[in-house]
């Protein structure tokens, strides 16, 4: 009995100690969404359980080792205890109940983070090796940076151009994969103004580590101002528009303008140059070729590159936009 009381005290102290220790360690990034609040709340229940069960097993074990160890010169065997059915039933049933309870609050927490706000802002997310692209159908904007108004739910409708990627902002907690040929949904309600990073969380090839983009959570007014500034770019001169488009659509992730090598050929000096093709022929890179390369990339494959790497932009860009990009490419020396 004396043993059991000591162990019980140790377990209680251990539980409090471990939980307090975990608390001071700083285990989570900033909490920047409503979903993060729900996740962190459930995580804290887990931490209490972990602290308790860890102390229960380790304290009892450590106590046994310290008190029941074989002393110098001692002989003989341990107590002959084969088991205890009541005890076994007890420590099967209690965890069973605990598990059902945990699953129950787990489901409630899931319900919380999946709560749908009908007035949510819709953003279509398109990912590819290795870029992020955000389309705002309400405003006709496409951007490589994600701008979100604070305190309003955003409904991310996501798909991938090539392999599986995963959308994750650690400060928002929740993540969701983007699967080619399928649209997945993620809903987040940012509740803190600030700048964060979208990280691709699913291994998507060599440059996976660098597949990031910025997220700006801004006030309602700043968001409106940003929308306006984005929409007005459509009216500026084609060269500037082209330059903005190639960044917005992630072209520059694969193409450099300074001659350096990326996934695709560099654009430096491409206009009017002689391009060797994979089928052994050559072609002059006139305006027509540039336009075809954008809307139908598999028509001509440049030597040393593979087909199906560059996505087709036929359905994403309209005629003026393609023309603007071509005009911009023509200026690159």
């Amino acid at each position: 009995m004396k043993h059991l009381i000591t162990v019980a005290i140790l377990v209680v102290l251990g539980t409090l100690g471990v939980h307090a220790g975990l608390g001071t360690l700083g285990l989570l990034p900033e909490q920047a969404s409503l979903q993060a609040i729900a996740v962190d709340k459930l995580l804290d229940v887990h931490l209490w359980l972990i602290s308790f069960l860890f102390s229960l097993i380790v304290m009892t074990l450590a106590y046994s080792l310290a008190v029941f160890r074989r002393r110098k010169g001692e002989t003989g065997e341990g107590a002959h205890m084969e088991g205890n059915t009541t005890l076994e039933i007890f420590w099967t049933m209690i965890p069973l109940l605990a598990v059902v309870f945990l699953a129950f609050i787990g489901a409630a927490s899931l319900g919380e983070i999946r709560r749908i706000d009908p007035s949510a802002l819709q953003v279509n997310v398109l990912a590819g090796q290795w870029y992020w692209q955000y389309q705002y159908p309400e405003y006709g904007i496409v951007s490589t940076e994600l701008y979100l108004p604070v305190d309003r739910q955003v409904n991310l409708q996501m798909t991938s151009n090539d392999v599986i990627h995963s959308f994750w902002v650690p400060e928002f907690r929740v993540k969701q994969d983007l699967v080619p040929g399928q649209t997945t949904e993620l809903r987040v309600t940012p509740n803190m103004v600030g700048e964060f990073r979208v990280l691709c969380a699913e291994l998507c090839g060599t440059s996976h580590a660098y597949m990031e983009s910025a997220v700006f959570v801004v006030t309602e007014e700043d968001f409106a101002a940003w929308v306006e500034s984005q929409q007005s770019t459509a009216e500026v001169d084609p060269l500037l528009l082209g330059q903005q488009l190639v960044q917005r659509y992630g072209c520059t992730a694969c193409h450099s303008i300074d001659g350096s090598q990326r996934t695709g050929p560099t654009w430096a000096g491409v206009f009017e140059s002689v391009i060797p093709l994979a089928d052994g022929t050559t072609i002059i890179a006139d305006r027509e070729y540039l336009i075809q390369s954008i809307i139908n990339p598999n028509l001509h494959i440049v030597e040393g590159y593979n087909p199906n790497v560059m996505p087709s932009f036929a359905s994403v860009l309209d005629q003026t936009q393609v023309e603007a990009i071509a005009s911009y490419l023509e200026t690159l020396k």
């Binding site: 074990l61 029941f68 787990g106 599986i164 995963s166 650690p170 080619p180 291994l203």
Partner: protein, 611 residues
């Protein structure tokens, strides 16, 4: 020279080279004949590797007897053992003890290779930005580390199951000795093919090989798929063999609840590997076919579905983690009573908990896919089933604590490793539920938290028990004791560094460190943590070197193992070490309970002709 080529392994390797060349030539010839461009690396190399593996099996002699039976020739009970001494281990043998040790050595070799890979990319991670690896090299090493370790673990548990199960149940050998030899030898070309991916462009998908990424990866991907598929046969046949052995060949009087507890664990493990391994083979082969013949199983452009792969893959790969840990947990339960001199607490409950874990383990695979885009309504059921695994696992922990309570505890090296197993596996187990409840998993999935969590389960459930068992049974295998001082040194090197490593992994994961990234943003502030983890990794490597030195030194200079070293009740310790060639000269009969330590006058077994 002639003697060298008489070694089965050397013959097998020579045949493998010939087979590979023939396979490559054959595909090229066929392509030429049907008017395609003759040289295409992928089909040629895949077929060559496959043929090479089959040639290896013929060359090494693992299928000799089946050929003889096919033409109606008689064969002996054993392959004729023309190679005495150490040479025995380099060729096909039918003795389960030899095969067990072959498995053990191959497992240790792969463990070292996989560990080396980890140290290489861990060094790269110590600082931000890429220092000496390219992104593709990083991904290849990281991916191979995973799969090489998994194969090493599968071989390691096969080693113990092979060596121990017949001894523990009093059988002369396994039920199907030839299948047993085949299961081992197929793992050799499988391992070689797996490692060859390193030289064939590597691959960048991680050990999970998800398409569409794996459908586009370099040629190394195919070698990975093929190597794993072949290694799968080793698991499937091995599982079948253990099941048949345990069901058919137990000593008289050994009713199910008088079996040593490790045998229960082996049984549960084998049930899983016999019935689930096919699914990982299937999913991998489907991607192979997609790459070779354009079958669009997982290609959305052809109506395929990438998420289907994940279902098939995890239907094996979740139960597989129980294949990795159940034998280790069985070893803990098996050995703990010896060092605390008390019966295993609640033997029947522990035995049933292994089966319980194995069965529930089949229903939980979806917890790897909470973010995958699978049907949303599947999330909650998978959360319930996953959390349910905690119940039988809890039974094991409580039973260990109950066993240690009021024992007469001693602290030899095996016991130290057992204690570390319990604590580390506890860390792994307790950090599991946050991945089971969906909302928290949406944060944790694909981060270093997961990496830390499963390394805890693998070390606690496999690595530490593996060493406990090795220190315990090495004398039985070799007749020499391992050095106790070096054993303690190894223990004190590996344990603290591993605990630090895994806890740090979980911490940076929670803070936002994604898994499988070659490089990370300096702004995250993880550089110091990564340095700590890298140093810890190297200390673990050092502990392995100490272990190998110990093996080498003890084989040369170690004291001979005489008598019942650990004062164990188990039958194999009642006879001489190393174990006689045909196991027990006298068959034994079970007359009592296996773990009645502390009950005066009790007896577990009685040899024939003995009172």
């Amino acid at each position: 020279m002639k003697k060298f080529f008489a070694l089965g392994l050397v013959r097998g390797l020579s045949w493998e080279i010939i087979g590979t060349a023939l396979g490559i030539g054959f595909v090229t010839l066929v392509r030429l004949l049907i008017g395609l461009p003759a040289w295409k690396a992928e089909p040629a190399v895949v077929f060559g590797a496959l043929l090479g593996a089959l040639f290896f099996l013929v060359g090494v002699g693992a299928v000799d007897d089946w050929f003889k039976w096919a033409v109606g020739r008689e064969t002996g009970e054993h392959f004729d053992d023309s190679h005495p001494g150490w040479r025995r281990y380099f060729g096909a043998s039918l003795d389960h003890k030899v095969i067990g040790i072959q498995y053990l050595v191959l497992s240790l070799i792969l463990m070292s290779v996989g560990g080396l890979f980890a140290l290489i990319f861990r060094t790269e991670l110590a600082e931000v930005q890429m220092q000496f690896l390219t992104l593709n090299q990083y991904n290849t090493l990281m991916s191979l580390h995973g799969m090489v370790m998994i194969v090493s673990i599968l071989l390691g548990i096969a080693a113990y199951m092979n060596y121990l199960v017949p001894l523990l149940i009093g059988a002369r050998d396994m039920a199907f000795p030839r299948l047993n030899a085949f299961s081992f030898w197929i793992a050799v070309p499988a391992g070689l093919i797996l490692l060859s991916s390193l030289f064939l462009g590597g691959f960048d998908t991680g050990w999970t090989g998800y398409p569409p990424l794996s459908a586009r990866a370099p040629l190394g991907m195919q070698m990975f798929f093929l190597g794993v598929s072949l290694a799968g046969f080793s698991s499937i046949f091995g599982g079948l063999n253990i099941l048949a052995t345990v069901i058919r060949l137990r000593a008289p009087g050994m009713t199910p609840f008088k079996m040593p507890i490790f045998v229960w664990a082996a049984l549960a493990t084998s049930l899983i590997s016999l019935t689930a391994t096919q699914l990982i083979g299937l999913s991998f082969q489907m991607v192979m076919l997609q790459r070779l013949f354009g079958m669009g199983f997982f290609d959305p452009a052809k109506g395929g579905n990438p998420v289907l792969f994940q279902h098939l893959f995890w239907f094996y790969s979740h139960p597989a983690v129980y294949v990795f840990v159940l034998p280790g947990l069985g070893l803990i339960s098996e050995l703990l009573p010896v060092f605390v001199r008390k019966p295993l607490f609640g033997y029947r409950w522990v035995a049933m908990s292994s089966l319980g874990i194995a069965l529930v383990g089949f229903l939980v695979w979806g917890h790897h896919m909470f973010t995958s885009g699978m049907a949303e309504y599947l999330r909650v059921p998978f959360m319930y089933s996953t959390l349910l695994v905690a119940v039988p696992t809890g039974v094991k922990f409580f039973s260990w604590v109950g066993t240690v309570w009021r024992g007469k505890i001693t602290f030899e090296t095996p016991m130290l490793f057992l204690l570390a197993s319990i604590v580390v596996f506890l860390l792994g187990g307790l950090t599991g539920p946050p991945n089971a409840t969906v909302s928290t998993d949406l944060h944790l999935h694909d981060t270093y938290y997961i990496v830390g969590h499963f390394h805890d389960t693998m070390f606690g459930g496999y690595i530490f028990p593996f060493f406990a068992a090795l220190y315990f049974w090495f004398p039985k295998m070799t007749g020499k004791r391992l050095n106790e001082r070096l054993g303690q040194l190894q223990f004190w090197l590996i344990t603290p560094s591993f605990v630090v490593l895994s806890l740090w992994m979980m911490r940076v994961g929670l803070l936002g460190m994604r898994r499988r990234i070659a490089d990370y943003d300096a702004a995250l502030g993880f550089e110091a943590s990564h340095l700590v983890m890298t140093v810890a990794g190297f200390l673990i490597g050092l502990s392995l070197i100490v272990f190998f030195i110990n093996v080498w030194y003890s084989l040369k200079k170690g004291p001979p193992a005489i008598g019942n070293l650990w004062n164990s009740r188990s039958p194999e310790w009642q006879v001489a070490s190393p174990m006689p060639v045909h196991n027990y000269d006298q068959p034994f009969e079970v007359v009592g309970e296996p773990y009645d330590y502390g009950l005066p006058g009790s007896q577990y077994i009685r040899f024939k002709g003995e009172k």
